[in-house]
Symmetry: D2
Subunit: 298 residues, 4 copies
Amino acid sequence: MNEKLKGVFAPITTPFDEDGAFSVKKLEFNIQKYAITNIAGYLVLGSNGENKSLSSNEKEEVIKTVIANKSAGQVVMVGSIFESTRDTIEFALKSEELGADFITLLPPSYFKGIMTDSILIKYFTDVADAINTPCLMYNAPQFAGGVSISLNVIKQCSKHPNIVGIKDSSSGNIEKTILSIDSENFDVLSGSANTFLSALLHGATGGVISLADSLPNLVVKLYRYVMDGDIKKAVELNKKILRANYVISGEYGVAGVKTAMDIEGYCGGAPRLPLLPLEEEGVNKLRKILKDIELDKL
Amino acid sequence: MNEKLKGVFAPITTPFDEDGAFSVKKLEFNIQKYAITNIAGYLVLGSNGENKSLSSNEKEEVIKTVIANKSAGQVVMVGSIFESTRDTIEFALKSEELGADFITLLPPSYFKGIMTDSILIKYFTDVADAINTPCLMYNAPQFAGGVSISLNVIKQCSKHPNIVGIKDSSSGNIEKTILSIDSENFDVLSGSANTFLSALLHGATGGVISLADSLPNLVVKLYRYVMDGDIKKAVELNKKILRANYVISGEYGVAGVKTAMDIEGYCGGAPRLPLLPLEEEGVNKLRKILKDIELDKL
Amino acid sequence: MNEKLKGVFAPITTPFDEDGAFSVKKLEFNIQKYAITNIAGYLVLGSNGENKSLSSNEKEEVIKTVIANKSAGQVVMVGSIFESTRDTIEFALKSEELGADFITLLPPSYFKGIMTDSILIKYFTDVADAINTPCLMYNAPQFAGGVSISLNVIKQCSKHPNIVGIKDSSSGNIEKTILSIDSENFDVLSGSANTFLSALLHGATGGVISLADSLPNLVVKLYRYVMDGDIKKAVELNKKILRANYVISGEYGVAGVKTAMDIEGYCGGAPRLPLLPLEEEGVNKLRKILKDIELDKL
Amino acid sequence: MNEKLKGVFAPITTPFDEDGAFSVKKLEFNIQKYAITNIAGYLVLGSNGENKSLSSNEKEEVIKTVIANKSAGQVVMVGSIFESTRDTIEFALKSEELGADFITLLPPSYFKGIMTDSILIKYFTDVADAINTPCLMYNAPQFAGGVSISLNVIKQCSKHPNIVGIKDSSSGNIEKTILSIDSENFDVLSGSANTFLSALLHGATGGVISLADSLPNLVVKLYRYVMDGDIKKAVELNKKILRANYVISGEYGVAGVKTAMDIEGYCGGAPRLPLLPLEEEGVNKLRKILKDIELDKL
């Protein structure tokens, strides 16, 4: 088990100004606030980071800002999410140069009809061969046009010395991956509050959990209960986390995650179009939900 | 009916050198060859153009090269395919400046779970409002993570003065769109040989047909048979076109389209990774198929 | 080409009394009316026949009634649609005894996850081996839990002497099947107005068209235009047929087909629960649509 | 919480003789063996029971045999799975007469395109109104053509006094159902080993687990560990159960469940065609897996 992959990671969002421009200041503010929480690190430029809506310059700026403001021990995973092997490697190398600890790789999916196991294995392998930073596969069929990373692909890639784990955000069977890939050099992280507790129980090393964007210490609390074997408390807390997550992220997506951040004192703001910010009704719903779990935050 | 949307359009591919770099020279060669065929124009930076695997600079270079080498009357549609409204508009404006006649718009699909009709209508409308060049919607759920443009969206958007048509590459029911949208200012183009003949019979104005990349005049011949009411000849030719297309594009995708171009004297070459070029067996299969329809080419 | 598979077939509905009991009388009335139309025959106990909502006794009664009241030359296809090979054969043999000309077979789909090509080939072959009546495969993924009959299965089964064709009701690519299976002993029938015209042009022998339940001669008229090479008239009529079909069957399903029958003087009535009959608004919509194509009926 | 819905239920299979006939004797043998285990009861005529491959007479015979041979306290759920409301009620009433404790209802799915929430609510309500035996909804999109019972349907139906719970066999989010439906008169049962442990932790009352067909006491052991709060032991055992289940049921389905029963001393045998029994390789694989967990059985 890789010590750097243990714990709770925040899949951070990208804050914009009112005119829609990326705001370094707001991101600095957020990271400085996260730096004094108990989260183990960050997923930068993931789905909640609106990766696909950022320019190359903005992406670089985001990475630099995170690395400059995080606490020393916090780990940085960077999403290098592109349709071509070429672009993926190029950006992964840039991220490496800027100090990324891990590169996260989503399967290409534009031509999803031909994304066979062998094409995906070659894709992950080509990237992992070309860079020095260890790679994590990112399984999220909901964001990859339905392309799922099969257990066969995971098994093959887990043998590669530079592919060290997978972040599984699918609703499927993360326990199956954990129990099937029993390698010392390959870790599984949950990518969703929906599977986090059960994944931890069965051997996941940690989780990249969007609720940690607004309530980092609360998610860490859940993690610690499980590590301490206090499952009763873990389940009680998890029920509250799930109820909140079903609405914040499940119902509203990135816009919900950002609004929850606003409510909890971070700079969330609006997503970029075509994504729309929450209307007042949604904001109030989130306000109520977050109030309900406030007492558990400490 | 828009005169500029009549006829056969080639959804051109992007040629690369052996080291994978974009080759202006090869593209010039192709366009100069297409310029003396009977095709009505080009879809530039579409799916067969490997849009998502090109850098911003390469995209600009592609547009410039097409416009500099096409024949005077040929029409240029440019794909502006991005996840954010912001990027879509920015690139559409750039294409407009470079001389595009139409902008083609694929629905964003990364967050496909929230791509509701109202989000898509706002997306197409926002882009169409921001630019002067007329827009075509591009319906291709196979390349948009399963996101389909519903008839409701088409109906709403067809009323916008700057949304002038749709290129439908879905396997579904193009006739339904044609018969449901009976507007003088909105045209339907087939985006697949599979539906081209039937679409033309029911009122489509033309087609963007990948077989036209390798056999432009053959596809135009089919179009003219239909226009001339010579359906018997059209059907006989269409049977050959379909049999070829099922293998070239249906079985092999972009790599097949490029190999067919190689065989027919254009610069096809290999696609960018993770797409792989055809192996010898595939090349031979295409060689045989293309030989079979050679006599019909003239 | 099998002479018996040429022309237009009506996928007849099953009429019920107000208390929901199957009405022999109403079915007699319908068949006697169809007997003096120009349709080539019937699909009995298909999807529009609410096959899955009928008891064994009712099914037998339906077959007997059709055979006793049809005209001498009209052909009878009977759906034997079950999950087990055993039940399929048993009912096919009963239908054979009662005088069916063809047996129509939908793939089992309850355990759709394991309905591989080889399982389906064995299923169709086992049934075709066990009976004397020629079999038609029935491709309708929309009614078979998404299970589609692949081209590979069609190719293998088309070699069986007792599997003589396929009724394709999918929205996909019926032309591909027609052009790929070029056997003298295997015919393709369109199972939807949506593909009927194009299928006929490319070599289909006929169609099983739900609009023929209410407007049999109108659909035959379309068929004859195509056979006579009068494609211009065929297309003009087809536009009207499609517009009607998009609403009657496309929007309302079996309940719509039955209401259209009521309007046109057949005994349609309500489907069995959980299917609901049309509300007044839908009935009026259909009334209007059918009035619009009335002039073409003769 | 309904006391009768607590614990582990076996979704029993239907044994056949070598000629394919249903074997009362073998079923008697199985039930007499289950009667002295610790399982709380049975799901009779569910998916593993090959419901859709049995005749009406066979179904009755199965119910009678179970009821005559079970132990006094064991509970009997019977699947009444049909496409029409009429047939569902008729068979539910027959099951009631024969002594069923609960009726299990899968959504109709032949016409899946129109299975809206309101149609499903009316279906479940109509059946629950017409019978005295309490009903359980059965959510298994994999066996219902992709039709899933939405949370909205569950919420509405949970208010009906005679709809007392849901058996959820989907891979999705059973915790969401448990946490969303917080009613004293509505229970959630897991329908899959994949979700059983986590479901129990979050408030499910029990599970209908196919591994209980071959290893009933082992699954009960897991249930008891959870009830006793001994989560560490529960998780260790669950890892073994999951590894076995991924192969037995996950890879091989009903045929695998039956082979596992054979190995463990029950009468499994072959499923009905088109389902095929395991080949020798599969049998050996299961033998090995079951040997591995043998020590945990006691």
